[in-house]
């Protein structure tokens, strides 16, 4: 069978490519990687009017076919048919920002010159009109020599027209393709300006929304205050909005545990399913609401265009720490997960800037730490209301985030003075127009994050939980013995405990630390499993786990455990992506070493301070 016809979407960053891709393909998307490089391949399916399926691939945004980053190199190689793991596209869909023609047309001209069957989507025409710009679509099509369709991808306008144009194009007989890249940028730029001015019918300057907003959001005084307020709101929301859904999921897990527990005969199988799989995985998926709230904010900040403003506001401070404002976006993404954060460092051109950002990214409080923080905070920090509806628990959570941020800045500063000495590079970024992201685009983003999280819960976390259960349950304790003392995990825990005892960690924590190397949230499922096995007749669920900790752990130990998680690099995926992005084991090993050292020092300092204060 022949492969489906392939349509590639290409265009400048901020032209609205992803929104158009979402509008064309809906939820039928697949995210993968190009072989050998860490560039994401996003593809989806589109059904033409006559029912024929077509594969659509969303190429990384580029400014030209003269790549300055690995992402841009993939775009060029796919279009030239030289990218491993990708067939040459049968047609090309170029996305242009209607209000930015003189810049975007340069790349479009270079693309049209490749000779592939091409359609131009003149996107964001609504914003251009709002800015007082009237464009002549027919004149543009004449000058470019290809069909031009007006679209507003975030509002799903012009999509049917685009589909029918694609239909016509893919039905027409294929002519030969010549793939030669025109690299005379200066000439292309001049031609782009000529065409842009030919296509502009009228231009009335109006007060633009973006400028009004920027006057406030980039204000030297108000700007940073608003940024801090948004960050604070985000972390408060993660904690307070999630309370109800977290409780529902917790109840559901408890119900499942009781139901399955009574359906199975007592014995090892029941213990494995109830104490291992359900207790472990259940403890982790309880945190899905918080992770989704966090990603919701990040998607919203990215979609509206505010994220780049935040980078602008923070550049000087980041520069002071030896980073660039560009590092702000990878570091902010690392609040969700360090893996996409580290992958996002590819937009940083300077190699030392980039390496520094990679090495400190794991210090940002990723969502996998949330389950751990939430559990310990809920168990040990009283739920006092302070002023203005701000809770003490939320404040402690905020403090942990701040500790991570300052840890990262301090680490960057030291790295830049030491192993990564040298002048830091530049900061150049486009500030795109503000826009309201479509609900559907945000929803699709959240859906894919939820899928990734649940897949992890069903694979890595389920797997490690069952292995831990086996280690913790075997060999079985005789009468009068404690299960956690005779089991394999108990003996491993003994060995680890000799190392972590000076920083106040007890035997439960020592046992949980090894499986937690797989992913941080495993700490919660591990502790849940350990307690479950030790007292199999108690009720299950997050609430009782909280109570058990409250009675079982001294406060200094709990605080030391929190401090440990601010720094400890307990995530196989982060270590793996660092190895891939730095092409070797040197930097990931360095990262793991320095982070464990920091974690040990921080936990020890916290423990002994708390003990000295008599907590």
């Amino acid at each position: 069978m022949n492969p489906l016809p392939l349509v590639a979407i290409a265009g400048n960053p901020n032209a609205g490519k992803s929104a158009l891709f979402n509008a064309l393909t809906g939820a039928r998307q697949k995210v993968g990687n190009y072989p050998g490089v860490t560039v994401e391949r996003k593809s989806g399916r589109l059904t033409l009017l006559d029912g024929r399926p077509v594969e659509v691939v969303d190429l990384p945004g580029s400014y030209s076919l003269d790549p300055v980053s690995p992402d841009e190199a993939v775009t060029r190689d796919v279009l030239l048919g030289r990218q491993a793991g990708e067939r040459q596209p049968d047609a090309l869909l170029i996305v242009l920002d209607a209000s930015n023609l003189d810049n975007h047309l340069r790349f479009a001209l270079q693309l049209i010159d490749l000779g592939l069957p091409t359609i131009v989507a003149l996107n964001m025409v609504d914003l251009a009109r709002r800015d007082g710009l009237e464009l002549d679509q027919a004149a543009l099509a004449r000058e470019l020599g290809v069909p031009v369709i007006e679209t507003v991808a975030v509002r799903r306008r012009g999509i049917a027209e685009l589909q029918s144009a694609l239909d016509d194009m893919l039905s027409a007989p294929r002519c030969g393709v010549h793939v030669a890249v025109k690299n005379d940028l200066l000439h292309l730029q001049r031609r782009a300006r000529e065409i842009a001015s030919a296509a502009v019918v009228s231009e009335t300057p109006v007060r633009r929304w973006t400028h009004r907003l920027d006057a406030i959001l980039l204000h030297p005084v108000a700007g940073p205050i608003i940024l801090a307020a948004i960050m604070f709101l985000m972390f408060q929301a993660v904690f307070s909005w999630s309370a109800a859904p977290v409780a529902w999921i917790g109840d559901g897990v408890a119900w499942l545990s009781t139901t399955v527990g009574s359906a199975l005969p007592p014995g090892l199988l029941r213990s494995m399913v109830v104490d291992g799989a359900i207790a472990g995985v259940g403890a982790v998926i309880t945190f899905l609401p918080q992770i989704l709230i966090l990603f919701f904010f990040i998607l919203l900040l990215e979609g509206t265009g505010y994220m780049v403003r935040a980078a602008f506001l923070m550049d000087k401070l980041m520069h002071g720490a030896g980073l660039s404002g560009r590092a702000f976006i990878p570091l902010l993404s690392s609040f969700a997960c360090a893996v996409p954060g580290i992958m996002a460092t590819r937009t940083i051109e300077d190699p030392k800037d980039r390496l520094t950002t990679i090495l400190v990214a794991p210090l940002m409080t990723c969502s996998a730490r949330l389950p751990v923080y939430t559990l310990i905070i809920a168990a040990f920090i009283p739920n006092h209301r302070l002023m203005f509806g701000v809770g003490l628990q939320g404040l402690v959570m905020f403090g942990l985030y701040v500790a991570g941020i300052f840890g990262a800045l301090a680490a960057a500063l030291v790295l830049r003075r030491g192993v990564l000495k040298g002048a830091s590079g530049g900061f150049m970024m486009e500030l795109p127009k503000y826009q309201l992201p479509a609900v559907k685009d945000v929803a699709l983003g959240l859906l894919s994050r939820a899928q990734i999280f649940l897949k992890r819960a069903g694979t890595i976390i389920l797997g490690t939980t069952i292995v831990l259960w086996a280690f913790a349950s075997l060999p079985q304790a005789g009468p009068g013995q404690k299960q956690t003392e005779v089991s394999i995990a108990g003996h491993i825990g003994d060995a680890i405990q000799t190392v972590v005892k000076p920083i106040g960690f007890n035997h439960d924590i020592a046992m949980a630390l090894l499986p937690t190397m797989a992913a941080r949230e495993v700490a919660v499922s591990s502790i849940a499993t350990i307690y479950s096995i030790d007292s199999p007749d108690d009720a299950k669920g997050a609430d009782t786990l909280k109570n058990k900790l409250r009675h079982g752990w001294p406060l200094p130990t709990a605080l030391a455990f929190l401090a440990w998680f601010v720094f400890a690099p307990q995530c196989i995926s982060t270590i793996a992506v660092t190895r891939r992005e730095t092409n070797g084991w040197k930097w990931p090993l360095f990262m793991v070493g320095y982070l464990f050292a920091l974690a040990y020092i921080a936990a020890g300092a916290t423990y002994w301070t708390a003990v000295a204060l008599g907590l």
Binding site: Y63, S64, D66, V68, S99, N100, L101, D102, N103, L185, L186, Q189, P205, R207, R208, T210, H211, D214, L218, H219, P220, V221, G223, P224, V308, A311, F312, L313, D315, K316, L317, H319, G325, E349, D350, G425, G426, F427, M428, M429, E430, L431
Partner: protein, 94 residues
């Protein structure tokens, strides 16, 4: 390093906010290759209309500059390599 001196011209970093100007020359040698390439990609070029719009809150760095129809943030150090001819007072409308 600053761009060569011409009477009536100033480096971009000295242009006041909202002041409109035209790019006379860019000292490409003061920038490394990647920086030069990015500046070109953003449409910085001789003859282009330019207007500084916002300054970073700390140390008045970076500078957000309007180039053509785009707004681009660059560091003060890069702005110094761009020599401009002021063409108008701050525009009250935009």
């Amino acid at each position: 390093m600053n761009a060569p001196f011409h009477p009536g011209t100033i480096p971009l970093d000295q242009l006041e906010l909202g002041g409109r100007a035209r790019v006379l020359s860019i000292d490409w040698d003061a920038l490394d290759q990647g920086e030069a390439c990015r500046l070109r990609n953003f449409g910085f070029d001789e003859g282009v209309a330019i207007e500084p719009r916002h300054l970073g809150p700390f140390g008045r760095d970076p500078i957000a500059v309007r180039v053509g129809r785009m707004t681009v943030a660059i560091r003060r150090r890069h702005a110094r390599a761009i020599r401009v001819i002021p063409v108008g007072p701050p525009n009250s409308l935009t």
